[in-house]
């Protein structure tokens, strides 16, 4: 048999599993052409993982596969996996083969045996369908039939050699759980851990009544990997391993684009709005209009034509819409047009991790660009703090890498943490913009105050504003400070109206003065004109007088000359 030439030994080649998150943990998938051990207790998801590895390989990576079922019948396995939508039946025709190898209950065992029969059959099939991947599900079932440890060891090595020659990428699944000490202890299958190139352990535990699944890569020869336990869930589409950060991806797509918060003055306070793909946290005690503020954001987003998902843990979607309508936020039309998807998260049960996965799936299915989670603190219920923090971190990392603008509200306990403003899940340290809402009780009133605690990369207003909800919408009002005290509500209104009256009085007085001055000016003008006219008359009179005098003089002169002529006494003289 001619062997396929493997690539130079410089780099270990990997077979992508196509399992969400797993390929990131292992840096590309399972070791190609080598064996991987998948160990875990009952109900951990070993079979699902292995089957998904095969299905993805056959469908997406052109690597046909064989599934050898030692425990459950292949028909049941396929039926159980039906809900994941992997289209196994389509793949089964050419690219995916199921081999039933359950020990027959009627079969009698007399003496030692080996797996050659199965391997011979499999070799034939593998060659026929050019299989590149193979899964031996519940190998312990067949190994336990072998009479002694030496025989088990021998058969496992036989299997290993068989795989190596054919360069098949293989997964063995083995039962190993707290309930079955025989399989957890190094014996009898401990040697398998040493034989395989990669070992993955799945656990399933219940913490505070909530199911927690974890996956851990125990070893991976020739490759680096994430050594920590990673929570995973088995969701609608199969396995989904939570990973905290896809290196080099979360930070890659930074933008300066702004998106409106839905409240005009808030946009101004933030210097234009939230950043696109930012994580915004709105904290506050109950009833401080957190939902309203996030609703305003959703309305603005839908108004721009961006697909949006609102996940509401507190109330039903239609209730939220109705309640928001009362403050002038109209979301119904967007739900009808399909832009907005309301999700009542009370229907999402399970661990925080499962919630996160569900939310992600919903957002991806809706192709959301904006996501509202109200309140995100609900995720912290019934999970340990460390885990909840991880969930929040993953939520934010994920939304950033997907370029989804995320608005989370977080409920603060009125008695504690209000002064500090610390929020559950410690999400506040991760959020880009943190808006805090609180009540100011003063003069028999409870008024909502809003302040921006932080907003990364943005010059933001330092002022506390009053948040006013009316049926016309959400507005922010400046607050008055008088004598070092902040005035809100009626007191602010009183102050405002007093100022307005004073301003009006001053305006009127000013107008009056202007009119008086106008009149005086007009009067003076008139007087000025009269005097000017008189002056002109005087000038005319003066000119007239001068000319009259001259002519009279001339007449007089001429008359005296004439007289002299008439008298004829004197000679004419020149003047």
């Amino acid at each position: 048999m001619k062997l396929e030439r493997s690539s130079p030994a410089t780099a270990l080649r990997k077979s992508p599993s196509g399992v969400l998150g797993f390929d990131e943990i292992t840096g590309g998938g399972l070791p190609r052409g080598r064996a991987t051990l998948l160990a875990g207790g009952p109900g951990c998801g070993k079979t699902i993982f292995a089957l998904q590895f095969l299905a993805n390989g056959a469908r997406d990576f052109a690597e046909p596969g064989i599934f050898v079922a030692f425990e459950e019948s292949s028909r049941r396995i396929v039926a159980n996996a039906e809900s994941f939508g992997w289209r196994l039946n389509q793949l089964r025709r050419k690219k995916l083969l199921f081999v039933d190898a359950q020990p027959n209950p009627d079969q009698v065992q007399a003496g030692d045996f080996d797996l050659c029969g199965m391997l011979a059959g499999l070799a034939h099939q593998a060659k026929l369908m050019k299989a590149r991947r193979i899964v031996f599900d519940a190998l312990d079932m067949v190994l336990s039939l072998l009479p002694d440890l030496a025989a088990r060891r021998r058969e496992v090595y036989r299997l290993h050699d068989w795989l190596r020659v054919r360069e098949l990428t293989c997964i063995f699944t083995l039962k190993a759980g707290a309930g079955e000490p025989t399989f957890t202890s190094p014996q009898p299958y401990g040697f398998m851990q040493f034989m395989v190139d990669c070992s993955v352990i799945l656990t399933h535990s219940v913490v505070l009544g909530v199911s927690q699944r974890n996956l851990r890569v125990q070893k991976y020869r020739g490759s680096s990997f994430d050594e920590n336990e990673s929570p995973f869930v088995i969701g609608d589409t199969g396995f989904n391993v939570a990973i905290s950060r896809i290196l080099g991806q979360a930070d890659a797509k930074v933008t300066h684009e702004r998106v409106s918060s839905g409240v005009k003055r808030l946009d101004t306070m933030l210097g234009g709005g939230y950043y696109r793909a930012a994580a915004v946290l709105i904290t506050g005690v109950p009833g401080t209009a957190k939902t309203t503020l996030s609703g305003a954001f959703a309305e603005a987003a839908c108004g721009r034509g961006e697909r949006t998902v609102i996940v509401s843990f507190d109330s039903d979607g239609s209730e939220v819409i109705r309640n928001l309508t009362s403050v002038g936020i109209q979301l119904e039309r967007f739900v009808k047009s399909g832009l907005l998807r309301m999700v009542s998260a009370r229907t999402i049960t399970g661990s925080a991790e499962a919630c996160l996965v569900r939310i992600k799936a919903l957002a991806v299915a809706h192709k959301a660009r904006c996501l509202v989670i109200d309140p995100v603190s609900a995720l912290a219920n019934s999970v340990s703090e460390v885990r909840a923090h991880g969930v929040a971190e993953r939520l934010i990392d994920w939304s950033k890498s997907e370029r989804i603008t995320l608005v989370c509200t977080s409920l603060l306990n009125e008695n504690e943490g209000q002064a500090v403003g610390d929020s559950a899940l410690h999400i506040s340290t991760l959020a880009d913009t943190w808006i805090h809402l609180n009540y100011l009780v003063q003069a028999g009133e409870r008024n909502r105050g809003m302040s921006i605690i932080k907003s990364r990369g943005t010059a933001h207003s330092n002022q506390v504003r009053e948040l006013i909800l009316s049926n016309a919408g959400v507005t922010l009002a400046d607050i008055f400070t008088a004598g070092g005290e902040v005035l809100m509500g009626t007191m602010r209104w009183e102050k405002e109206s007093a100022e307005r009256v004073a301003k009006e009085v001053a305006e009127v007085a000013g107008k009056l003065k202007l009119v008086t001055l106008d009149a005086q000016q007009a009067e003076l003008q008139v007087r000025l004109t009269a005097v000017q006219t008189e002056l002109v008359a005087k000038q005319v009179e003066k000119t007239l007088l001068a000319s009259t005098t001259a002519s009279r003089k001339a007449v007089t002169l001429r008359g005296s000359e004439r007289m002299r002529e008439l008298r004829g006494g004197d000679a004419p003289k020149r003047e």
Binding site: G111, D112, L115, C116, G117, A120, G121
Partner: protein
């Protein structure tokens, strides 16, 4: 007792592996001792004829299939546990 049934066997072996060789010799010895003149053994090497092994659902080798008489019985292993083999084949009562 002249018309005692003829035993038809099919033995699936994996070439000359230890277990298979053992099974073949154990079967031969058993037949000689208890079924002289009334047995047929067909030996199939799974490496030479994998299709047939696959079609028959042979997973472990060696596997002995008793075709007749009566219901089909399968015994896996090297057939070293003679009592067990005899019992399964219904030869214990027969021999007694």
């Amino acid at each position: 007792m002249s018309r005692r049934p003829v035993y038809k066997f099919r033995l699936f072996i994996a070439a000359d592996t230890l277990n298979s060789v053992q099974a073949a010799s154990n079967l031969n010895a058993l037949c000689k001792a208890h079924l002289a003149g009334r047995h047929e053994i067909e030996v199939i090497d799974v490496f030479k004829d994998p299709k047939r092994a696959l079609a028959q659902g042979i997973r472990m080798t060696p596997t002995l299939v008793k075709l007749t008489p009566g219901p089909e019985r399968r015994i896996i292993g090297s057939l070293t546990d003679t009592d067990r083999v005899m019992q399964t084949l219904g030869l214990d009562a027969d021999a007694a």
